[in-house]
């Protein structure tokens, strides 16, 4: 009897990869953009600090240069001031758009929220309290916009933010008078933030004449605020919270499987983003050059302009929004004078009045940006650097690579589990009479599966037999129409999918869901999510501990040499191993592997087999879906066979191979052809 290999894919077109697999591959190493900066070689980290200090000095010292070298110092300072305020808002936007993947087209609304509230309450109470009110209102509005958008993706998300962004300023203006007074008023009557904190600006200081000091002090204050915001953003982004956001951005399905509650994280990201933008709005309203805010000040044009700033500088980088705001904002204003209706103020001395020219240049720059350099200025820098590294490599000079941490045995292996005793002989996973309907189609019919701990249990069946549906039911991505799912002795049917990882069930994906824009080691660090609290990762020592553990897992699957490369640059088979390492990171009791050998050549399949056997040796239970029959027969302790959504056979490999029903389903009535 000849054994035929069943066709390897389930969905039509599922394997239509752009690149053929099983072929020796030499991919170009492309550094991941938004997030590969951790654990750079110390030279690079120092360079980062140097850049930050230089940036601070340049920005803080700018007015001095402007006053010394030009006659229009006040104009230049005020232009740069606006650019910096927009930079704060852009940094906020970048958290939501660049790091979490939620492109908001309505962020100017939060500037409006902050600015209008500040105008209102700055008059009434201590300005610092007013700032707090403004930030709280900004956060609330952020929550509101997020509530409408966290369930959406891509274009629909952007449209919703656009709509909400038009409603929120209007809402703010309508609600504020309920607390008394009109939100929009003359700034000169209010106690200005600058004057209050930094003293009255009427005395001259050793560089500047009287009347200019207030300007300078406020400017310096804004620079400090900007760097404070940058610092907060950096801390957030380098922590495990930031990694969770990036995971959601790259693959929200995989993020759920790693234990991340995506809606909550997106809400948090959006709220923080909105608060930063609201802060920018507060500063905007306190700008000495602003004569008043109108409803049209924070229009959707401004929202889009903020997006432009972020994209131009580099989406998903820390410095990107600042670069974009300073370059585009400052230059555009400098040459051509902003449309008055756009910003609601008049430039004190317009350098050159060319109405509409801003729009033309901005539009042109944006097209060049998106078409030719979609990763922005920072992206160009990265490409330059990797080109340089390649040149160095060709010359035989060693590239400066991050120094891997030293790891011990404890870090290295998946930890053995103690679930056996806890279960006391009960099965680890049980499906009881589970059925799933899609419209009129019954994909899974009255399925009973029992998985014993410490075994490798395989699920096989012809295409369309419901294997992947079953996996999705087990992992909580689908809810069963009928029946219950029991894991570790408890009923988990109603639980959300992201809870599974916390309970000890993780999975890999048939169609590969690695986090492509993060490094290999960061992928595994995301997998450690259920085991750690985010607070720990804000401390460098905590981050290092997470890194060591992730490295140990990479070492286990043999990927430690490529730890700091972008996950998308890995070969196909290596990406599969990465998914396994990520799934092992949560110390699971049950590991689900969805066609792990698809697209592997025989040598790689052999290595995979050894790996899975070793995983079982550590006491981890494995549920395997596969089409490679030799793999299944070699590995499995127990096999369940599905056909048309129902179980048709079950048993040891020998029993299943000999079962006539199985032969008929798989090979057709003409067995042995």
């Amino acid at each position: 009897m000849t054994q035929q290999q069943a066709p390897p894919t389930e969905y039509a077109g599922a394997h239509e990869a752009d690149v053929p697999y099983g072929v020796e591959e030499e991919y170009e190493v492309e550094p991941a953009l938004g997030g590969a900066h951790d654990f750079r070689p110390s030279r690079q980290r120092q360079a980062g600090w140097v850049a930050a200090v230089l940036g601070f000095v340049f920005l803080a010292g700018f007015p001095y240069f402007a006053y010394l070298f030009t006659t229009a110092g006040r104009s230049y300072t005020s232009l740069m001031l606006f650019a910096l305020i927009f930079a704060i808002a852009a940094t906020g936007l970048n958290i939501a758009a660049g790091y979490t993947g939620m492109l908001s087209l309505g962020h100017a609304a939060f500037m409006a929220a902050g600015g209008f509230v500040m105008m209102q309450f700055g008059n009434v109470v201590n300005p610092w309290i007013a700032v707090v009110f403004a930030l709280v209102w900004g956060a609330l509005m952020g929550l509101l916009m997020a509530a409408f958008s966290v369930h959406l993706k891509g274009f629909y998300l952007s449209i919703v933010t656009f709509l909400a962004g038009a409603v929120i300023p209007f809402l703010t203006i309508q609600v504020m008078p309920l607390f008394g007074g009109d939100a929009l008023g003359d700034v000169s009557e209010m106690r200005r933030l600058a004057g209050v904190i930094l003293g009255n600006g009427d005395q001259p200081d050793f560089f500047f004449n009287a009347g200019e000091s207030a300007d300078k002090r406020f400017y310096f204050f804004v620079v400090c605020c900007l760097f404070l915001c940058l610092g907060i953003t950096t801390a957030l982004v380098r922590s495990s919270l930031g990694r969770a956001w990036m995971a959601i951005r790259d693959s929200d399905i995989a993020a759920r499987a790693c234990g991340i509650a995506i809606y909550r994280y997106r809400l948090l990201s959006f709220t923080i983003s909105a608060t930063l933008a609201a802060f920018a709005g507060v500063l905007y309203s306190q700008n000495p050059n602003v004569t008043g805010l109108q409803e049209g000040t924070f229009s959707f044009f401004l929202s889009f302009t903020l997006v432009f700033f972020v994209l131009f500088g580099g989406l998903g980088t820390i410095a990107g929004p600042v670069i974009g705001a300073v370059a585009l904002g400052f230059l555009a204003e400098m040459f051509f004078g902003w449309n008055v209706s756009l910003a609601g103020y008049e430039v004190i001395q317009p350098v050159n009045q060319q109405p509409g020219a801003t729009g033309i240049i901005l539009g042109l720059l944006l097209i060049v940006n998106m078409v030719l350099a979609p990763n922005g200025v920072m992206g160009m820098g990265h490409d330059l650097k990797s080109w340089w590294d390649r040149r160095q490599a060709l010359r035989g000079l060693p590239a400066r690579r991050p120094v891997p941490p030293s790891i011990t045995e404890i870090d290295r292996l998946p930890r053995p589990t103690t679930t056996f005793e806890a279960l006391g002989g009960r099965p680890l996973l049980e499906l009881r009479s589970v059925s799933k309907d899609f419209g009129g189609l019954r994909a899974v019919d009255n399925l009973d599966i029992v998985i014993a701990p410490g075994t490798i249990h395989s699920l096989i069946g012809p295409n369309g037999s419901g294997k992947t549906t079953t996996i999705n039911l087990v992992t909580g991505f689908y809810k069963p129409t009928e029946g219950r799912v029991h894991f570790q002795g408890g009923d988990v049917t109603e639980e959300e999918s992201h809870r599974r990882a916390h309970r000890g069930m993780t999975r890999t994906f048939q169609n590969l869901q690695v986090f492509r824009d993060m490094t290999v080691v960061q992928n595994v660090m995301v997998g450690l999510q259920p085991k750690l609290s985010h607070a720990r990762s804000f401390v460098p020592a905590g981050n290092k501990a997470i890194l060591r553990r992730a490295f140990g897992l990479l070492d286990y699957v043999g990927l430690s040499k490529k730890a700091f490369e972008s996950a998308s640059s890995l070969a196909y088979a290596e990406q599969r191993r990465l998914e396994i390492a990520r799934a092992l990171a949560a110390d699971p009791d049950l590991l689900l592997l969805d066609e792990p050998a698809a697209g592997m050549n025989p040598a790689e399949t052999h290595e995979l087999t050894d790996l899975i056997l070793d995983i079982r040796a550590h006491g981890i239970t494995v549920l395997l879906i596969e089409h490679h029959m030799d793999l299944v027969m070699r590995l499995s302790d127990w096999i369940t066979v599905l056909d048309y959504g129902a179980k048709i056979a079950e048993g040891t490999p020998e029993q299943v191979q000999a079962n006539p029903k199985v032969i008929e389903a798989y090979l057709g009535a003409e067995a042995g052809v």
Binding site: G13, V19, P20, V23, E26, A665
Partner: protein, 258 residues
């Protein structure tokens, strides 16, 4: 029943007739990754030629290169000679107009269009000149595949895998191609259905359609092949007639699961 056009060229002497399709030293890269390392083979008019190989050997790359599908970062060197003329690098729709029909891997029918609309789209290039003939061909397809006739007005996305495969083949036939490219027709189908599909392919071959078929299910494919090649990691490693390769011990071990 013939599903191919009249061969429009009078051949003076058979020995001077170039093969319908000749691939000369075809090398293909995706970015830095090599997919094909110098592939040569020939398909004569009226033949059924089969290329077998395991997953990732490069079969789909060959098909897509012949039919001109645009792909990410793809570099192509070498020649794809269709009746003597190099068509490598031509645009997809122009190649289809030459008379080469490609049934893609995974079928790729249009799920929202009805069965009938899918078939009519197959005849898109003939629409202006041969309205009447197209109607006749449509009826012929429904005769041969009665299942499709029953589901004529249904959106194609609701058909089962096997029905979709028949629809895809029927759609390709509607343009009456000189050369039919079939990319893994057995993919994702139950073995019973696969047998049915190969029956159809046998009939088409008998009717005079030239067929180039790539497959992983070597058994059925080699049985209907006039000649066959084995493709492994981007290179042709064996060639012969279908019968020869069925008996070859290396093929048996690797692909026939003996």
């Amino acid at each position: 029943m013939t599903y191919t056009q009249e061969w429009p060229i009078e051949t003076m002497q058979e020995q001077y007739e170039p093969p319908l399709l000749e691939i000369v030293d075809l090398r293909v890269w995706y970015g830095a990754a090599t997919a094909l390392k110098g592939v040569d083979f020939i398909v004569e008019r009226g033949e059924v030629v089969v290329i077998i190989g395991s997953n990732g050997a490069g079969q789909t790359t060959i098909m897509k290169t012949i039919s001109g599908v645009v792909e990410l970062r793809k570099t192509v060197e070498g020649q794809v000679l269709f009746y003597g003329t190099d068509i490598a690098g031509q645009q997809t729709h122009k190649i289809q107009q030459l008379g080469i029909s490609h049934v893609p891997e995974g079928r790729r029918i249009f799920p929202e269009s009805t069965v009938e609309e899918n078939l009519m789209l197959g005849a898109y290039t003939r629409f202006k000149r041969e309205r009447g003939a197209i109607a006749g061909d449509l009826d012929a397809i429904f005769d041969r595949f009665p299942v499709l006739g029953e589901r004529r007005k249904r959106p194609a996305g609701y058909l089962s895998g096997g029905e979709q495969q028949m629809l895809a083949i029927g759609r390709a036939l509607m343009s009456r191609p000189f050369l039919l490219l079939l990319d893994e027709p057995s993919l994702g189908l139950a073995p019973l259905i696969v047998a049915d599909v190969f029956e159809i392919i046998k009939e088409l071959a008998a009717g005079g359609t030239t067929i180039l078929l790539v497959e992983q299910m070597a058994n059925m494919a080699l049985e209907i092949a006039d000649r066959a090649y084995v493709l492994e990691t981007g290179e042709i490693t064996l060639e012969g007639t279908g019968a020869q390769l069925l008996e070859d011990p290396r093929v048996k071990e690797a692909y026939l699961g003996a």
